[in-house]
Symmetry: C2
Subunit: 498 residues, 2 copies
């Protein structure tokens, strides 16, 4: 009885913290969607205050006492014990940050972000270098503070993907590089599918309605969420009953918004599917960034770029965009799966995407271990792009200045994008092994089996397991890059007809 | 130097509190505009947490110490000294509420709100009576806790309109009742202007665009604010750089949204016009609810229902709504100023509106002093409506259940609506006395003189003075109801052509 009462107190404190963090998320969402220009300065201050309050509430002594008393205590269920253990881990980590380090990180990140904006405006990395270098030094300090066994970059990776290490990623990316390069070489020798018809004028309202139709089809609950417009698409959640996606519409490109909707929709289904009664607790949170990304990529790529999906939706496509009336499902399927090495990560195809990530991973690792100097980033970037993708980087804006992540202080984030694709392929292979009719269901716009599988193997566990534990439980083995290679190979055989 | 440093600390603490309150306002705005249905429960909890945090931050001992040290201290400017005095007043008041009373008020209000919803559904006051009675008892207790000199209702009035008392309002409303009743009797004997053309189909998008045009015309800064749709129109502010109005569109009534836009626009101009560098301090806040309402009514009525305004906008009206092509400015002016006793406060005209308020004031006063029992509300309400407005109340929904205020625990709020009209008329008279060309400017869609007057006499002072002090400074005398009577009489002479 005493334990359960203490656990109730723990829940109540955790929910207060979650309330503040979710309020912060509402303010961020509003900033990206509806906030007028002149609201920016005060909004920044308001978000900083909420952020500070959430941090203070989590550093509270009474919470610490509860965690000490409940750690390893009898009378807790398995889920409860795991929540306590995970929260205690977070609490200990939180305590390692001195107020000085927190402030230095916040201030340097802020400066770095503005320097990044300016350097993009000038199209010159040198306007970013000094501020970025200061941030890299701080991130090295953070890695030391957080602690690691083998490589300082491991400490940063862990913030986004618990359990991921340089050792593991080096091997994974090495194993993946070879088959992807060989697949790419073969595809580059084949005749390329036509894609011109994707680039013509597509009515804005028709695109908006089409996107909503796709979200509905996936099972997005519009009573527990909504879609709005923002400059960069994103998904955010304030509770399982209020999950929001955003999109942007390119009137000259049909594919841009469509597959972005499916991508964000995949993130959103995960958030809507988490156990709502575990609000504020680890068991009610997403597992890791890699698993989150697996959900978006499963829907965007494994399902959304699947021929069966396109066949099912061809009538909706034609009804929405009469200019595509003469395009066959096979043509559309091929066009949205074309492989072509390019400069910009976010616009790249499912195959070469991972070379973009590998380059960033390699670069970050070297920065953090100290074997690459900040000033040498452009040179490293450009030569890596030439070597791995065969493209010449014309300027910094299309090169090492293209992503916002470093300016936010997110080092160790990029690898989770690739992990997402790999987990997605393995999940998709596993569900197809157990359920033979999935392709047929997709061809009928029926996602029941997929949804049930995801609920049962991913959504329901929240953050109770690490990504690799979850993968093991769901598919019977840890992450194997072979599923992804097989998935891509099979798809491109159909796309390129070899 | 020490004083200024302490004052800086005071500012920094006050801004944190403001940040939390403004974050709460963002969550409320989102709840009314965009939040999906299933987000409601957790959103309620999130708002309660922010509310509690704001309360805690304001009860902080370090803030109390600062206020003690800075109260009456040398080395502060006049504005600074006033801020300290006002904040100390708020602080002392805040301290009087025991945690038990705060909790009891929150819980009872919540129950009362749901009982009100249910009683409206059932169209029967009896479903509201028990909960409302409990709230009335608590509000009596609150009045004792807050303290008062003569009448317990004074304590509640003070929460919305500092300095307002039963003595003062009794006299004011008595003085006002006689000329308004006599004006009403004369008008009821005259032929009534035609209003049918206001009620036909008006395109939704055309109304939306028309409303935005009016806001632009008034000087609403769309880089520091926006308009959205909600069930009940309101204005909210997160800083002077982010002020939001909402509206609703009735496709069968042209006047409903139009004058609502002007009303909310008036509130919004006040919020955008407050001194932005005084964010979080009394000198950066609105003066009182009565003064806030004076701003909305000045724009809605004194300006928006002015013949010159309608003459200036007749072309925009006709362009937006071709079905009004044959309506003359004089007809439109008469139609939107028609007087007709009716049941619902929010739909009533500028004259009979005040009878609605007087009835509520009288009723609340008696409830709080204990001379009227909660169970007798419907009877008191219905007989007052018969006596003052000459209308028979057919049921509770069109009677004593029509307003949300009591279910929110807002006793003492209604009088500020009437005060708003009176202040607006006095301000308008005063600016016309000093500047002879205002009507001519309105006829040209030029509001420069009006805007300057409001900035100079109202906006710039924030909450540094009470409403009556502000009125005195601005117009040379305290509030006089004669200006309102003169304003109405002059208008109705033109409307009814007597």
């Amino acid at each position: 009885m005493k334990r359960q009462k203490q656990y109730e107190q723990y829940i109540s404190q955790m929910r207060k913290i979650a309330d503040v963090k979710n309020a912060l998320a509402v303010l961020q969402w509003d900033q990206e969607t509806y906030m007028p220009r002149k609201g920016a300065t005060r909004r920044g201050e308001q978000m900083a205050t909420l952020s500070e309050l959430a941090h203070q509430l989590f550093a509270d002594e009474s919470l610490e006492n509860l965690l000490m008393e409940l750690s390893g205590a009898d009378g807790l269920t398995e889920v409860q014990a795991r929540n306590i253990a995970l929260t205690r881990e977070d609490f200990e980590k939180n305590k390692r940050y001195s107020p000085e380090l927190v402030r230095a990180l916040a201030e340097t990140t802020n400066k770095c972000y503005h320097a990044w904006i300016e350097s993009r405006r000038q199209n010159d990395f040198r306007f970013f270098e000094t501020e970025l270098d200061a941030l890299v030094r701080l991130k090295k300090e953070e890695a030391q503070v957080l602690g690691f066994k083998q490589h300082p970059y491991d400490a940063l990776l862990n913030e986004f993907e618990k359990g991921a290490t340089v050792n593991w990623l080096d091997e994974l990316f090495n194993d993946l590089r070879t088959p992807l390069r060989s697949l790419l070489s073969s595809l580059m020798e084949m005749p390329q599918p036509k894609t011109e018809f994707l680039r013509q004028h597509f009515d804005k309202d028709a695109q908006w309605r089409f996107g909503l139709e796709l979200l509905k089809q996936m099972g997005f609950d519009f009573e527990a969420g909504r879609q709005d417009i923002s400059e960069h698409p994103f998904t955010t959640s304030f509770s399982t009953g209020d999950v929001r996606v955003t999109t942007r519409i390119d009137e000259n490109d049909f594919s841009s918004m469509t597959w972005s909707c499916l991508h964000e929709g995949g993130h959103a289904l995960y958030e809507q599917g988490l156990p709502g009664d575990q609000y504020g607790l680890p068991s009610g949170e997403f597992c890791s960034l890699g698993i989150h990304e697996s959900q978006s990529r499963l829907w965007e790529n494994c399902i959304g770029r699947n021929k069966a999906f396109i066949e099912h939706n061809i009538n909706l496509v034609r009804k929405s965009f009469p200019q595509l009336n003469t395009v066959s499902p096979q043509h559309l399927f091929a066009a949205v799966n074309v492989v072509k090495p390019s400069l910009i990560r976010t616009e790249s195809d499912e195959l070469t995407y991972h070379f973009h990530v590998m380059i960033r991973y390699e670069l970050e690792k070297r920065l953090i271990e100290g074997s690459l100097a900040t000033k040498d980033i452009p040179q490293f970037w450009n030569s890596s792009y030439k070597q791995l993708l065969g493209v010449d980087v014309p300027d910094d804006k299309s090169g090492c200045l293209q992503d916002i992540h470093w300016s936010h202080g997110s080092f160790g984030y990029f690898p989770t994008y690739s992990l997402g694709s790999l987990y997605a392929a393995q999940f998709y292979a596993s569900m197809n092994k157990t359920h033979s009719g999935i392709a047929g269901e997709i061809a009928n716009g029926n996602y029941t089996t997929i949804q049930r599988w995801l609920h049962r193997h991913v959504y329901q566990y929240g953050r109770s397991f690490t990504s690799n534990e979850l993968c093991n439980k769901a598919t019977g083995e840890p992450l194997q890059m072979e599923y992804f290679v097989q998935y891509l190979t099979a798809k491109y055989q159909d796309v390129y007809q070899f």
